[in-house]
Symmetry: C2
Subunit: 366 residues, 2 copies
């Protein structure tokens, strides 16, 4: 029996555990929290990330380790990697946890992206503004998610807010009037095989993903697969990787990479023959990948701050609920609901009804 270890205990860890158990592996989760979504579905090692004794106990009891969150320090990742059990390798986390090194890699690999400038002082912020014009976007280089640590700079006045800040650790990015946002979710295993899921069209509100719509045979699929393949090959990457793009006319501009399973791939739990979670587990355990075929019309909705009434949701044809069992809090992703239906008319009806139910339960605090 192979033992899969996961660093971090949120919903991604929870869903990875379920996939590991379905194949017939055991799972163990290492996380700092007393309660977290993965706790009661796995062996659970509660420990701080600087508690080496506890960490070594965890590492001794697993055969392979993966992460649900790329924001661990290089030092910490080095400790894990020294045991030769970490997949994907730490190089991917280190490059993608910093928006500047991520963008530089895009340039190096000729993966199209928007213009950007590092900002580490008020002067460099002014320089960036001169280069980019207004509006532009200022993003924390590390640890931002769901729109946190991102600022739209609409004019000189917004810049002066940063005049007295002690340390600036930002990247300034060109503002893109995109036609749509899409993502590609792909998996690469230890044998070098790569599989791609259908492209998804994503809708964000206030920086938080609200809806993912699967687009079968999307015209941008060949471009997107080439770009994610380039990144995977360069890093000798193993596992699931997602790239989010802005599409402008027929061009895809890479926005960011998730070196892990990703929210825009949650639809695969019920909408693809093999879920992104199972394919990630297969990839890191040396197994062949499962089919990524989409089974019907599919879309996925995030539930933010509140879950809609379960009984009402499940009455919608094709609805699958996934509650992460997190304490409700404004702006927090508490779960997602996937719609899967071959009947296109019924599917559209369910989409309209589900949107209403989710909106009524949503708690967003701007």
């Amino acid at each position: 029996m192979l033992r899969v270890g996961i660093l971090g205990g949120g919903q991604l860890a929870r869903l990875l555990c379920l996939a590991a158990h379905s194949i017939g592996f055991s799972s163990a989760v290492y996380a700092a929290e007393e309660f977290c979504p993965a706790k009661n579905v796995s062996q659970y090692y509660q420990g701080e990330f600087n508690d080496n004794a506890r960490l070594n106990e965890f590492l001794a009891n697993v055969d392979v380790v993966t992460i649900e969150n790329e924001n661990f320090s290089a030092d910490f990742l080095g400790i894990i990697e020294a045991k030769n059990k970490l997949l994907p390798k730490s190089n991917s986390f280190i490059v993608f946890q910093d928006r500047l090194t991520e963008k530089k890699l895009f340039n190096q690999l000729n993966i199209p992206t928007n213009q950007f400038y590092p900002v580490d002082s008020y002067t460099t912020l002014q320089d960036a503004a001169n280069q980019l014009g207004y509006p532009f976007v200022l993003k924390q280089r590390k640890l931002g998610y769901d729109g946190r640590g991102q600022y739209v700079i609409r004019g000189e006045k917004d810049i002066t807010n940063f005049k007295d800040k002690q340390e600036l650790f930002f990247i300034a990015e060109e503002w893109i009037n995109y036609d749509r946002e899409v993502s590609i979710v792909a998996a690469r295993n230890t044998l070098g095989e790569i599989s791609y899921y259908d492209i998804c069209e994503n809708r964000h509100e206030n920086g938080i993903l609200k809806k993912t719509q699967v687009r079968k045979a999307d015209p941008m699929f060949p471009v997107a697969t080439e770009l994610v393949k380039k990144a995977m090959m360069h890093l000798n990457y193993v596992g699931v990787m997602t790239i989010e793009f802005f599409q402008v006319n027929q061009q895809l501009l890479a926005n960011e990479v998730a070196p892990r399973v990703h929210n825009s791939g949650h639809w695969t739990m019920h909408g693809a023959l093999t879920s992104q979670f199972e394919n990630h587990i297969r990839a890191i355990t040396g197994l062949a990948l499962g089919s990524t075929d989409t089974v019907a019309n599919v879309s996925m909705y995030n539930c933010i701050g509140g879950m809609p009434e379960l009984g009402e949701v499940m009455k919608l044809p094709g609805a699958y609920n996934c509650d992460y069992l997190k304490t409700p809090r404004a702006n927090r992703k508490l779960g997602h609901i996937t719609l899967v239906d071959n009947d296109s008319t019924r599917f559209k009806n369910s989409e309209a009804n589900l949107t209403e139910l989710i909106k009524a339960a949503e708690v967003v605090d701007l």
Copy 2:
């Protein structure tokens, strides 16, 4: 958060837990064993089935209780039922745990079955032999599974083996030269909605299920669904129910009923839009049922006594592994493998290759 309790900790409990967690429910398992397949994927209450204090502790911590095994005593089921949390209700377990009351129910409901006679003495055994002729089948009324407690009686000599037995608690059944064995898996929820999966064709060897092949649009589907509906309606049944039939010409003869998720429905984990495990959980928690549509060509193979090499299995296109993490033992079901593929030629190839791999690993002791 709804808390699902399961009595018994084997593979059915394990897979029910995974389905409950996927929706966003918690699960708790009550079982006597120190180790069992469900242990590390759920909250686990180890306790004997006559330990009322421990049982009450478990019952206080769950909202609904279901079973993975119908062979609990009526007294025990009564204790659980008194808490108003048991689904399906105990009436179904009680009638189907005894092959005689099961067969009598078939007669009562005009569900066709083979001829049968109760056997509780050597005299009644001789009477049954006179009525049925040779060969016929003698089955323990209770607790038989995977062919255990079943005897083919080929002539008078076989009868005399039972002459000196103290107590006989059997049913004698007509020998059927069937054309094929099929099963229907259906779910009925608390609202009375019923959904049916496609018919499966089952192949047993030595009384143990070896292979289940899904038959889309099978000509016997309308007959099978009417029969399982009749049983469910009569019992006001809630949950997944399976009926196994012998088919002779165009007639289905009910062989036995499983008032629970069933091995011949395991293919639904990857081969149907909604698994039998999720639909059982939905049914007992008052939710609408999910689509039972089959997604492609599907067949399922049991692994008996030994699991084939995982890496080789997963290389087969469309293969999904499910290891129950049980201690290997001859004749024991250790896991199952499902093949799901839209490409019929590739599917047939995988079937042939998988059959070889499974056979090489199998340990059967007759």
